[in-house]
């Protein structure tokens, strides 16, 4: 049993903590800021906003992305919207209500102080993004429009058609581009982090690999920010982009940053079901569709009739039946499990009987095709492209898929990891969503961390370091990390086995999805924990990477990422086995109510599980952070 973690939560009542923190935080004089170098890894919402803001303040910033351009980061694919407690609709929203909704949505497994700060700064995000020219949807009078998302009874979600993530990311990217043009940020594109360097217990920089030349180089800095996204691709099939990976966070973990709640992975209820074996990824259909779409399955199992031939009284609108007050807008974890149960019982629709209907016909009739097209046109078009069916005339088929990971690098109130000088922001950290994230809250958190939190907390850290020397890249720790990285990539090339990295990734994904997916059992997790090391052993013996290390080699890149996914997968299953309760997206079949809802065990598990690297992910050391609920009172979630 490891240490009890201290999150360094500021004093004061909840709604004054952030103000108190800012009032006490140490500052760096504007003329001195240029003496500090900050590295930002990742250029999604959190990374781009942090890099741009830190450069505006005057810090020297180096930004790294493995993409060809910062604008490609996966934040771009978020569809539905971004939450903010603006209460522009006058429907009863407030900072406190957004706070409570987020805590409750996360099934009381998040940290109150961080969540409250998130709700507070949410209003500033909307102001900031509008000032940058993000074309949010408007009412005819010119005011901002809102819609509603799962887990909320107010309309607080701001949106730009079905491309909100794209528009917000382009806003942050433009802000970053301005700083690149001005010389405030140096951009390293097509460059992947391969190690984190720690000298005397402090993060001193990173080691990266140039994806075009294979060259390994070091970069030193006063502080490093990891804004490298989530690890949903451990499941192989997920809604994540193909290149999303855990490598940066995992390499930090291996150097001493604790990894928190790895088993909290969110399954999104509305994705297009898998159509064949060769499928490489799953595509999300925004949750916003649940505003105007009704979800149903045939009441009769194995009913192969087309949707329009199934009369109204033979349809089961199960979310409306089970959760009347939230209906089709029940939170993601609850909606996903309901769909899985019905499909498992044979009520699934489509050629493979692996989906449920998301039916917008009532909305098309009520509002007209034009209005529906304006709201969701691009989503309908995307569905048509992928499924080859016209969603205006037949219901869409949807099924849950891995989408977002609430777990990540453990951070304290300042978003600092357990390695001093190393920060984690956005999906890469674990802090705000507990065991389940509400829709439209990921964009909010990424931008909150980058624009409004890190610039304050990093200056607090850097101020005392003024005019003190930091280790340069010829320090032995950098040299050694570079050598290790070169050896690692050479070793993938030298196995010369028979299976490609993709083959191993697919097999890994099957194990994780079967035993550590939507429903988990002790028996299944134990099975996964016996199968994973065996498959990992095979990976090390039978991998085949063709090509060389001297020019672009996507097979080699993939091998490194799959290696880290294996290690993470083991930790995930271990964490899921250890957490003997059901909470949010973590559903252990042994722990459920008579009605099949998640049954928490607050007496034994009201804590964050944060793991320390020991050299073997199966034997990681468990540390705990106790969660205190002073304002939001622990209660059983009910969306009935």
């Amino acid at each position: 049993m490891g240490a009890l973690l201290n999150a360094k939560i500021p004093n004061g009542v909840l709604h004054e903590k952030w103000d108190n923190y800012k009032a006490d935080a140490k500052l760096v004089n504007p003329n001195n800021k240029r003496k500090f170098k900050v590295i930002v890894v990742g250029t999604g919402l959190a990374g781009a906003s942090a890099a741009a803001t830190l450069a505006e303040l005057g810090y020297q910033v180096d930004a790294f992305t493995f993409h060809d351009s910062p604008r490609r980061a996966h934040s771009i694919a978020a569809q539905g919207g971004i939450n903010a407690a603006k209460n522009y609709q006058g429907d009863g929203d407030s900072i406190n209500r957004l706070f409570i909704d987020t805590i409750k949505g996360g099934d009381f497994r998040s940290r109150e102080s961080n969540v409250h700060r998130l709700a507070q700064v949410s209003v500033d995000i909307i102001d900031q993004m509008v000032a940058q020219g993000v074309p949010f949807a408007r009412e005819y009078g010119g005011m901002l429009d809102n819609r509603s998302f799962g887990g909320a009874q107010v309309s607080r979600t701001f949106y730009a058609r079905g491309q909100t993530g794209q528009q917000l990311l382009l806003g942050a990217y433009q802000q970053l581009s301005r700083q690149i043009g001005l010389g405030g940020v140096r951009l390293f594109n097509r460059t992947e982090l391969v190690d984190v360097v720690v000298v005397d217990g402090r993060c001193s920089g990173i080691v990266v690999r140039d994806l075009l030349t294979g060259e390994i180089t070091s970069h030193a800095a006063h502080a490093v920010v990891m804004a490298t996204g989530g690890y949903g691709n451990v499941f192989y099939l997920s809604t994540n982009a193909m290149n999303c990976n855990v490598t940066a966070a995992w390499r930090a973990h291996r150097r001493g940053a604790m990894f928190a709640n790895p088993c909290y992975t969110q399954i999104h209820p509305t994705c297009i079901p898998q159509s064949d074996e060769s499928q490489s990824k799953l595509t999300l259909m925004s949750e916003s569709l649940r505003n105007d779409g009704r979800i149903w399955v045939p009441k009769k199992a194995d009913d192969a009739r087309p949707a329009d031939q199934i009369p109204e009284n033979e349809r089961d609108y199960y979310l409306e039946r089970l959760y009347p007050s939230y209906g089709n807008l029940a939170p993601r974890d609850i909606s996903s499990r309901a769909a899985k149960r019905l499909v498992d019982k044979g009520h699934g629709v489509g050629p493979l009987k692996n989906g449920v209907n998301l039916d917008c016909s009532a909305a098309i009739e009520r509002l007209g095709r034009d209005v529906v097209q304006e709201r969701y046109g691009n989503l309908f078009q995307m569905y048509e492209r992928i499924a080859g069916e016209d969603p205006y005339s037949t219901p869409m088929r949807i099924y849950p898929a891995t989408h977002y990971t609430m777990g990540g690098l453990w951070v304290d109130y300042e978003l600092a990891t357990t390695i001093p000088g190393l920060y984690a922001a956005g999906e890469a950290n674990f802090s705000d969503h507990g065991a389940n994230r509400l829709g439209a809250s990921a964009l909010m958190q990424g931008l909150a961390d980058g624009y409004f939190v890190l610039p304050y907390t990093i200056s607090n850290e850097l101020a005392p370091m003024l005019n003190k020397a930091i280790p340069s890249t010829d320090h032995p720790a950098f040299v050694q990390a570079e050598t290790e990285a070169r050896d690692r990539f050479n070793s993938y090339l030298n196995v010369k086995g028979t299976r490609s990295p993709d083959w191993f990734h697919r097999e890994l994904g099957k194990i994780i999805w079967d035993y550590c997916g939507m429903e988990r059992t002790q028996q299944g997790l134990e099975k996964a924990l016996s199968e994973l090391p065996a498959l990992y052993g095979e990976f090390k013996k039978d991998l085949r990477v063709t090509g060389t290390d001297e020019s672009v080699n996507q097979t080699l890149e993939k091998a490194g990422r799959v290696d880290d996914f294996f290690q993470l997968g083991m930790l995930m299953c271990r964490d899921a086995l250890d957490r003997e309760e059901s909470c949010g997206a973590h559903f252990r079949s042994e722990h459920q109510t008579g009605e099949g809802e998640a049954l928490r065990d607050d007496k034994n598990f009201c804590h964050v599980s944060a793991y320390d690297w020991t050299g073997d992910p199966m034997a990681a050391e468990l540390n705990k952070e106790a969660l205190d609920f002073e304002t939001a009172h622990l209660a059983t979630r009910s969306y009935k």
Partner: protein, 257 residues
């Protein structure tokens, strides 16, 4: 689910920016019509690795048509035969058994080939860095509803802002011009009230950066026809109008010191 058989792929292979490239022929014996075009290439790559050969390098990421990473000239058309569709959203049901499919990288002077089907599009980023933004440093923004934006204006801005920066417009253009891309960003920001302060400075700087790197527009309209997001040619007209005005407005602004 049906299977397509006996597809003849002619794939461009090129070892590096300065290497000589050539077409390599591969027969795909069977592929599901539910597979996407890139999944078909994934399967080809799996086979190549199995045969101890180098996988074909191509850029791709989100595979849902929004990140703009994927490219490819397919049978001479940017993103392939289907209108308003990126390569990653193109599915094999668009093709038939026995088809010959020619796969090339974007070909444009401003997009040098890196390897095989992968090109360097950093020239787009440089255009944005020159002025494709609204200067609004973090922290000083007024309340979001303080400036009403009429719905038609917000909608028009959104139509232009939908650009994914994939480069199909440049690849389709006989001159290798980037007017649709640059015009889309200018039209997004220059119609909004928030974008007025820097309107003419932006137009001049972005057009200058574009002219430095890309060919000239001669109104073929191939760009808009190839655009997976169907950005309208109108954005080029708006850009040209603002660029023309910028020549007098920016000079006047200078003379006022």
């Amino acid at each position: 689910m049906k299977y397509l058989t006996n597809l003849k792929l002619k794939v461009w292979r090129q070892d590096g920016p300065n290497a000589v490239g050539n077409f390599e022929t591969h027969i795909v014996e069977s592929v599901s019509d539910e597979a996407s075009f890139l999944e078909m290439l994934d399967q080809l790559n799996e086979r190549l690795i199995g045969e101890n050969k180098d996988a074909v390098v191509f850029d791709h990421d989100c595979r849902e048509g929004i990140c703009g990473t994927c490219s490819l000239m397919i049978n001479g058309r940017a993103h392939g035969p289907q209108r308003a569709t990126t390569t990653c959203q193109l599915h094999m049901r668009t093709f038939s058994s026995g088809d010959e499919i020619v796969i090339e990288p974007w070909r444009a002077a401003a997009f040098p080939i890196i390897k095989d089907l992968m090109v360097d599009r950093a020239s787009f980023d440089r255009i944005v860095e020159s002025g494709g933004f609204i200067t609004a440093p973090t922290g000083g923004a007024p309340d979001a509803n303080l400036i009403p934006v009429p719905k038609p204006v917000a909608d028009a801005a959104m139509d232009s802002a939908a650009c994914i920066g994939c480069g199909a417009c440049v690849a389709a253009c006989p001159n290798g011009a980037a007017n649709l891309f640059t015009g889309a960003k200018i039209a997004h920001l220059n119609v909004l009230p928030q974008g007025q302060a820097e309107r003419y400075k932006r137009a001049e700087a972005m057009v200058n950066s574009m002219d430095d790197q890309f060919g000239s527009c001669t109104n073929h309209g191939e760009c808009s026809a190839a655009c997976p997001k169907e950005i309208s040619l109108d954005v080029i007209a708006l850009m040209n109008a603002d660029f023309r005005k910028s020549k007098s407005k920016n000079r006047k602004a200078l003379s006022r010191g």
